[in-house]
């Protein structure tokens, strides 16, 4: 077994276990086969746990923006000219296009879920087929993953178009505090969604990169949950901007 050392040379890694010198069993039971590659179930569980953990700071980012939004809305500021406190919140009329984009995103979530189940079925099929067999086209297989990517890109394009509409109505980033928040919240969401699109793209071309279907399935699974979270987050943002004004 190759050893890792900096200065001391240790030819033969030993494991100390007290006086009796008996080695523990190699398999600990459960998903981990000693220190070999963990099995699919373990890898999936670990990846999903990682995603759950990763979503927490994303959530905190938007919670933080939301609290800034609520505070800023209600905040009176001192008008030095009159020495009185005034509120300067002017609500923005959101472009109707955002509703269409919402529909696109929800549909993409549906496709995403279908893609997730599709590749999961391929990964857990018994007996395990070779990667090349799996990626060869099944005649009735619908390319849910590609369709999700297309809809995701359509959503992002739609958001950009909505920004153009806002600008045409005179609402830029710094026009009013309310417009600042519209750009901020939609822009941050879009950046995060773009990350999801990239992950799907990598999963999509992964067969070209010679990744196993098990690995691709895990990537798609994790990205799918991320995608659904992004869809839910978008609906929340839309409601915040529309109703909490």
């Amino acid at each position: 077994m190759a050893t890792f050392s900096t200065t001391a040379t240790v030819d033969d890694p030993r494991v100390l276990l007290g006086d009796d010198g008996v080695l523990p069993p190699v398999r600990g039971g459960g998903g981990d086969d000693g220190f070999g590659l963990p099995d699919y179930a373990t890898r999936l569980r670990r990846a999903r746990l990682g995603l759950l953990v990763a979503l927490t700071p994303v959530l905190m980012l938007f919670v933080s923006f939301s609290s800034a939004y609520v505070v800023r809305q209600g905040l009176p500021t001192l008008d030095p000219r009159t020495n009185t406190l005034v509120r300067d919140w002017i609500p923005v009329t959101l472009p109707k296009l955002l509703l269409i984009n919402t529909g696109v995103l929800i549909l993409s979530s549906v496709f995403m879920e279908l893609a997730r189940r599709q590749i999961k079925g391929q990964a857990t099929r018994v007996p395990p087929a070779s990667a090349s067999e799996v990626s060869a086209g099944d005649q009735t297989r619908i390319p849910w993953l590609s369709m999700t990517i297309v809809l995701g890109l359509a959503f992002l394009f739609g958001q950009w178009a909505a920004w153009r509409q806002l600008a045409a109505n005179g609402f830029y980033v710094a026009t009013t505090p309310s417009s600042s928040f519209v750009y901020l919240l939609t822009g941050t969401h879009a950046i995060h969604l773009m990350g999801g699109v990239l992950a799907l793209f990598v999963a999509g071309i992964a067969s070209l990169l010679r990744r196993s279907v098990a690995t691709r399935s895990i990537v798609v699974d994790v990205t799918a949950w991320y995608w659904h979270f992004m869809a839910g987050l978008w609906i929340y943002i839309l409601c915040l901007l529309e109703f909490a004004s």
């Binding site: 100390l16 590659l37 933080s64």
Partner: protein, 581 residues
């Protein structure tokens, strides 16, 4: 291609990587990554110490001209203050204990072959490194580094015209912190997933060493807090560069309107301190875990009250999110809100006190060995008590009226973060050096280092309490303008001289560290006769930590002096002697 071939390709390398780049630069091995973080922090602490040295010199000799650097103007002093604080808090205190030792030893102490996501781990280090590069770059751009303090209060930090360094330098400062946030979040992800999902058989949560509990809770704090800091940084960048007014009301700088209106400076403070308070617990918790570990090992006695220690760590973490307003008692925040935050702040003193009692309880009726790691652990307890005692003063708003923004505050946080936490890093270095490098550090040099540091830091920071009581404000470049400050200059001189001596003493540590790496006496696998899993494996550990064997855990982490055992320590993986835990 056959499935098994692909699996072998994809498996996180059980075979050690070949080639310099894969082995040392873009390594996926948590041990190498831990060392990378450690040395990054070492570089950062030298920069930070140098900045503080210049600060101390300027305070007592404001008109001095230094070789190479020339005169230090008041704005330069404030730049030193800002960058010293920022570099120390982020790139030393949040990097070395967690990214350094946590990365290296969390997987080994829980019996795992590596972190859950090794590629992410590698990326987290290089992201942090990039953040450091961007931070240092701020010194060299037009206008220089910012002068708004590590706390970056708006509008001072939000207006390019508010002072020298508030141009591109301030933008780079924010961007560097944003990059750091992302690196820290990636790291937190790994720590949490690894702790929850990769513990070896028999390693229940309540058998984990307290170091692992500390790293775990620290990672949770980071997970919840860094996102908020990132959000604040984004809003600040927008105010600075896109003309938004999140934090800036209608203001004039030098008589010029800035174009902002309606924003709230207090909003920045709320967002910043919602991160900032958990951040200081991020800085201290790993050191507390280390102290618990070492007091037990070197008293040859189980830690007093393991369960209470775990609950205390959890309580500190939880309550740490509820006290941020105690930084804002004088900010214009509602006095009723101040009262609420004040009660919560006093509450958080309780778990810290419990930990202190338990440390003393561990020493009592033990058999204490004064090895170098133990000296620093004992020093940690003393310094933590000293720094902690000033907390209840600041936590009471009515006393904070007098003490806020005076030297009493840096006295408090330096004793805890700037000394006690650093002692945790020193202690961990002396303790784990043999395991990491296969050699022992020099004990006699370590003792010199300890005495210089222990006495020196008390000499620096204890007098700052007196300065604060007497009304010396923070962040004053000079004491020459206010008449009642003049009689405090001798005390400042004493502090500066103490700083010279203490910083010089740190060279002993550096020499010891690097000399021992190459020339120190060879270390055995368990030179301290400790029980936790890292001491069951080879020195240094093999690539997959345990040489192909998964450890199975039978005992708790602090089984010292077990009655009836053949030796005064029982390894966690020893199946023959099952202690009560």
């Amino acid at each position: 291609m056959a499935t098994h071939e692909i699996a072998a390709q994809e498996s996180h390398a059980h075979a050690a990587p070949q080639g310099f780049i894969r082995k040392w630069v873009f390594s996926l091995d948590h041990k190498v990554i831990g060392l990378q973080y450690y040395f990054l922090a070492l570089a950062a602490v030298f920069v930070g110490m140098f900045l503080s040295l210049l600060m101390r010199i300027h305070l007592i000799w404001p008109t001095a001209t230094l070789p190479l650097l020339g005169d230090i103007r008041p704005e330069t002093y404030l730049t030193l203050v800002t960058m010293h604080g920022t570099i120390m808090v982020f790139f030393v205190l949040t990097t070395a204990p967690q990214g350094g030792f946590g990365n290296y030893f969390l997987p080994i102490q829980i019996g795992a072959p590596d972190m859950a996501f090794p590629v992410l781990n590698m990326l987290s280090f290089w992201t942090t490194f990039l953040g450091f590069v961007v931070m240092i770059a701020a010194f060299f751009v037009a206008g220089g580094a910012p002068l708004h303090g590590w706390t970056g209060y708006a509008p001072l930090s939000a207006l390019q015209s508010a002072g020298p360094g508030e141009g591109l330098g301030a933008d780079l400062w924010i961007i560097s912190i944003a990059i750091f946030c992302i690196g820290a979040l990636m790291g937190a992800l790994n720590f949490i997933t690894t702790t929850l999902d990769m513990r070896a058989k028999g390693m229940t949560m309540m058998r984990m060493p307290l170091t692992c509990w500390a790293w775990f809770v620290t990672a949770i704090l980071g997970l919840l807090a860094f996102g908020v800091l990132l959000s604040a940084g984004i809003l600040l960048l927008m105010d600075r560069n896109l003309g938004t007014s999140f934090f800036v009301p209608l203001v004039t700088v030098n008589g010029q309107l800035t174009g902002h209106k309606g924003g709230s400076p207090l909003l920045w403070q709320h967002l910043f301190w919602f991160f900032g308070h958990p951040e200081v617990y991020i800085a201290i918790l790993p050191a507390m875990g280390m102290c618990s570990q070492l007091l037990s090992v070197f008293s040859r006695k189980p830690i007093f009250g393991y369960k209470a220690m775990v609950y205390a760590i959890l309580a500190i973490g939880f309550l740490g999110f509820m006290v941020w307003g105690h930084h804002m008692f004088m900010s214009g925040m509602s006095p009723y809100t101040a009262f609420a935050f004040s009660i919560m702040t006093m509450a958080i003193g309780v778990p810290s006190a419990i930990k202190t009692f338990n440390w003393l309880g561990t020493l009592m009726r033990g058999r204490i060995r004064f090895a170098s790691p133990m000296l620093f652990a004992i020093g940690f307890v003393s310094l933590f008590v000293s720094g902690g005692i000033s907390g209840p003063f600041l936590a009471q708003p009515v006393l904070d009226i007098q003490l806020h923004d005076t030297y009493f505050v840096p006295a408090h946080f330096h004793l805890i973060m700037g000394v006690a936490s650093i002692f945790g890093i020193f202690a961990a270095t002396y303790y784990w050096f043999p395991k990491m490098f296969g050699r022992m550090m020099s004990e006699s040099m370590a003792r010199w280092h300890f005495w210089f540091s222990f006495i020196g830091t008390y000499a620096i920071f204890m007098p700052m309490h007196y300065l604060g009581m007497a009304g010396m404000p923070r962040r004053y470049a000079q004491m020459t303008e206010v008449s009642y400050l003049l009689h405090l200059i001798p005390l400042q001189k004493f502090i500066t001289y103490a700083a010279f001596v203490t910083i010089a003493g740190q060279l002993i540590f550096v020499v010891n560290l690097f000399w021992s790496m190459f020339k120190g006496p060879k270390a055995s696998d368990n030179p301290w006769e400790a029980t936790t899993l890292e001491w069951t494996t080879a020195t240094p550990p093999p690539h997959d930590n345990f040489g192909g064997h998964t450890p199975v855990v039978h005992n708790g982490p602090y089984e010292y002096s077990v009655p009836g055992a053949p030796r005064d320590y029982v390894m966690q993986s020893d199946p023959e002697i099952k202690a009560a835990h």
